[in-house]
Amino acid sequence: MRTLVQPGAPLQPRRLLEWAAPATDLRATLSAGQDLLRGLVAALAERGVAHAGVQVLTAEIARLAYLTGAEDPSGERVATYGPPTRLEGPVTLLGANGILGPGPDGETLLHCHAVVVDAGGRLHGGHLPPGDCLLGAGGAVALVTPLREAVFAASYDSETNYPLFQPTRTAKQGISA
């Protein structure tokens, strides 16, 4: 198994786990014309949910851009994103996982990767940047697991030289986002 030397010294522990309380899941439906990520973040904010694990169950997409990994020519990180691949719809989402939490500046982020199939039957997939996934007729359905007592919150990670979501304990009442 090949390993890579990261730009910063290895941090301990290598595996982080925090316990969140059992939660009532939410099934969320978005409609045509919404952006999948921004729409979900905004809808969940209205429900008071700023921390969650997300499974996108269905989505019909009119227009999409996604990013895949590449070596970082600057050498400042072991990997970065290449240029976006753009797809015109109809694009059918086959599966997507997301993590919702506060970004490094406190704004709520949805870190989401998806696998989709285009109108010609070709598979695609990658990281979805916010604002580049326009929902078409049929909209989207997501199953949302709200996180309380422990959440993902982004902070600078000196090992990888990226801001990354880290498991973070909160007060029993939860934290404000």
Binding site: T3, L4, R15, L16, G98, H113, F165, Q166
Partner: protein
């Protein structure tokens, strides 16, 4: 023709908010994280992350996908106790390489080093 399913009654319990750091093997590290926190029954609820390189099993085939920067697109599966009572993970999913080619299969233990991070939500399964 009849085939009986085997049922196990239970419910979903606590939620584990997990991050794996770079160069940890996906399957082994999920098992280690569970062992360190006394979790032996769990299901994957969400996961976002990347791998240095990937090896996926599909039938008799081992798909070797070189990275770095392989994106984990979807991850599904569960953690169950092995014969000795320790956590054993069965993880399957889809990935994309740097040329945006998509592959799917079962993640082979010991062959899928984390690249930047894995953000993982497991939910405990509590057998009745």
């Amino acid at each position: 023709m009849s085939a009986a399913a085997i049922f196990e009654e239970g419910r979903l319990g606590r939620i584990a908010v997990i991050r794996l750091r770079p160069n940890e093997d996906l399957v082994s590290a999920v098992e280690s994280a569970c062992r360190e926190h006394g979790l032996v029954h769990a299901v994957v609820r969400s996961a976002v992350g990347s791998l240095v390189d990937a090896v996926l099993e599909a039938g008799e085939t081992a798909l070797e996908v070189p990275g770095p920067g392989i994106e984990i697109l979807t991850l599904a599966g569960e953690v169950r106790p092995d014969d000795a009572g320790g956590p054993r993970a069965d993880l399957r999913g889809t990935i994309a390489d740097g040329k945006a080619r998509v592959y799917g299969g079962r993640f082979r233990r010991g062959e899928n080093p984390i690249c930047i991070t894995l953000e993982l939500v497991l939910q405990e399964w509590l057998p009745a």
